[in-house]
Symmetry: C2
Amino acid sequence: MILEIADFRIHPGQGAAFEAAIAGAAQTILARSKGCQGYKINRCVENPERYVLEVFWDMLEDHTVGFRQSDAFPQWRAIIGPFFAGPPVVEHFELVGKSA
Amino acid sequence: MILEIADFRIHPGQGAAFEAAIAGAAQTILARSKGCQGYKINRCVENPERYVLEVFWDMLEDHTVGFRQSDAFPQWRAIIGPFFAGPPVVEHFELVGKSA
């Protein structure tokens, strides 16, 4: 399992609209992608213009190849991209430890 | 529930030692703190010197007051701090959406 962490900064005052947009797009586009196990959308307490999207993929390539090179990707970015105040920071992670 | 996301950059070549140190300290110090529901330690695929620690707290103050002002905090930082290549970036998040 691979965790994608996508770090977004959005334009001020657009939080409610962004949350509605990304929730809809995640459910209808992201969750239907091959290898997508699930996702979480998190809003920052200290900076409400910062969001962290976590996506759990079977394999790295399910995101980097399967999703990003699919027809679904431009649809996804068309919905959430207009809210971005800067380029998103996206990297992938392996779980190396957790609580019992 | 509040998610703490702590973003660490460590010195090159110290990954295995850091993972052993933080796994032990998380289990013996962090997990025993009041309000700590659990944690995950994640290593970045693209940049193996980057780690993201996720800690799930009952309330924001369980981390910012209860843990950080406890005797446990300097113990925790004494174990993981020497690995840091720069100051950690720590913020807190509320879950605003997730997969069904």
